[in-house]
Symmetry: C2
Subunit: 349 residues, 2 copies
């Protein structure tokens, strides 16, 4: 039942068409004019190739040409709105160029990241995009040794061009909005704004924390260490931390800057155990965007990062000559709350 016809090669086509393998190769490729193959010959060969269901063996071609047609991208994880958007854009742009994208996830583990980069080098990828690198220096070292063009995305490296989201600006604007919203009620805010989630050794988080500090400092409210709770990305730890914080303060703080969707998921786990009334005096912001999070029953200020823009810029840089070590910033977008306490959804009735 299952036919095991060996895939046909240029040698098969050569035999069937009476031409030589090199003629077949030229005829099937782009440069048959340069090689002075008669148009009639080209047509015959192509017809036979189609009949035989021929397709180029990319391993052989890659071996000969020392390029594979593959382009690699490393992301921390697939299962994430921001990174999967990057994957989607990356795939589209790669295909536009006739390249085949290979996307691997490192789980934010430096060892795994190195292993992946090595593997991709083994497969002779033509370019490499590294998003959220955990060890940019090591990556650059490996790519240099393999003479491989690479670009860092979202987290910069010093050995290659980098394209990052403007985390500082995004967080600066978000913090300002939180401050503004908090004071809008007219009464003096009763306590401080807290920053929760993420990892302060991570570049993006560090930028956001810096912006958070600066805004508050400019507003004459210098940030205390306890206001920065970089408890990682796991929902569970965010739940624990926000609960502990509410416990310490006796209530929800007047403002919360949540540093990722996963942390927000955790925060929400705690908030949902509180009466909605107790949220009225708090303003919530989340760095990163989710359409459902935008429809919660209390207003949430969000920041949407421009995944497509990041990848577009990264491609531009990697294809550019000269291949410069510049750092490009891409602006994120502020998303105003979709729901308000007094919107229909909020049940004023």
């Amino acid at each position: 039942m299952i036919r095991a016809t060996r895939k046909s090669t240029i040698y098969d086509i050569a035999r069937l068409s009476g031409a030589s393998p090199s003629t077949v190769s030229a005829a099937l490729g782009e440069n048959w004019r340069k090689r002075r193959i008669a148009e009639a010959t080209v047509e015959t060969i192509r017809r036979i190739a189609t009949e035989q269901g021929y397709s180029t063996n990319m391993q052989a071609r890659g071996l000969r040409k020392a390029r594979s047609g593959l382009v690699g991208m490393v992301i921390p994880l697939h299962d994430n709105r921001f990174f999967s958007s990057m994957s989607q854009s990356f795939e589209a742009l790669a295909r536009d160029r006739g390249q085949v994208p290979v996307i691997a996830s490192s789980m934010r583990d430096p060892t795994e990241e190195r292993r992946i980069v090595e593997t991709l080098i083994s497969y002779a990828v033509d370019y490499l995009f590294i998003a959220g690198a955990t060890d940019p220096e090591a990556v650059t070292a490996m790519c240099r040794a393999a003479d491989l063009r690479h670009v860092f995305v979202d987290l910069p490296g010093r050995g290659a061009p980098s394209v990052v989201s403007d985390n500082y600006k995004g967080a600066y604007d978000l913090t300002q909005r939180l401050l503004a919203d908090r004071t809008i009620s007219g009464q003096t805010p009763r306590d401080r704004i807290y920053f929760i989630g993420g990892d302060d050794t991570d570049y993006a988080s560090a930028c956001r924390i810096a912006a958070f500090r600066d805004v508050l400092a400019n507003a004459g409210q210098p940030v205390l260490p306890e206001q920065i709770i970089a408890c990682g990305y796991a929902p569970r730890s965010a739940t624990r931390e926000i609960a502990a914080l509410c416990d310490r303060l006796g209530s929800l703080p007047s403002g919360v800057f949540v540093n990722s969707l996963t942390a927000f998921e955790g925060v929400l786990g705690h908030l949902s155990s509180l009466p909605l009334e107790s949220l009225r005096n708090s303003v919530i912001g989340c760095y990163d965007y989710d359409p459902f999070a935008a429809y919660l029953q209390f207003p949430v200020h969000m920041v949407r990062q421009d995944a497509h823009g990041l990848i577009r810029e990264a491609y531009r840089m990697i294809e550019e000559d000269p291949y410069d070590l510049v750092l490009t910033m891409v602006e994120p977008e502020q998303i105003a709350p979709r729901t308000y306490y007094d919107s229909p959804f909020s049940d004023r009735g």
Copy 2:
């Protein structure tokens, strides 16, 4: 600055170690015992290889062995909770086996799907997983010609083993829950339950619609054509359709079965313009799960598909001998609402 050291090959290692290339190849591989290479020689060669930063050229190996070490997977899109979970699981399982996953998205376009499968065949992938195939027959034809083992996931094909979510059961249970919840208030439900979203030519949607019909038929409420609104996956069209429906009925129907997260996003766009009070008499279910959607201010019954289980089963089938044409079902999980009207979050205060 940028060093362009050509990557070292077994010939370089051979020259440096005084051994022959074939000895080097054997020494670096797994079968040096079978080839009777002295342990001391192996150690020397490996040391030199490490010093030189040698890594196998997978194109050459693949050409020779007619296998690439790559495993392909086609998904409709990356930017989706369900499919990106599949990617994550696929990647993990592939790496456990020392394979390199290549994940491509077809955008649900049959032409693109064919092109991708052809490309993956060109790269001599060892196995191919096709999720949500749009043209399974064509895929099987191509894979047969290339003698390539493949498995269909989430949408079955007749030419290869298939692993699908038990959409019928998932939808059956969800519909039953909606019915039960609707009648729990004691009063006779004032109108019918509606099914919205998805594409009725799509296998998964067809199964779910069938289940929806069956449950209602069994409950003595045969489904009218107008109750099935398969308006696709785009949020916009779901918004339009739910709005139109509410218009026709004069109010929200007493039950809504939403067939995908994207459609739910659209439905939510309309619901959020209504007073929450008007949702009290409706029960909402969504096939597929999102953590934020679970925390809306009205209860939402959800179904979580087991992406990991699907991939695990798919891998089991593709590696199994004999390679049978069976259809495996994986059970989805019913997720009860996280929020209720009378839960703290719902603002009874």
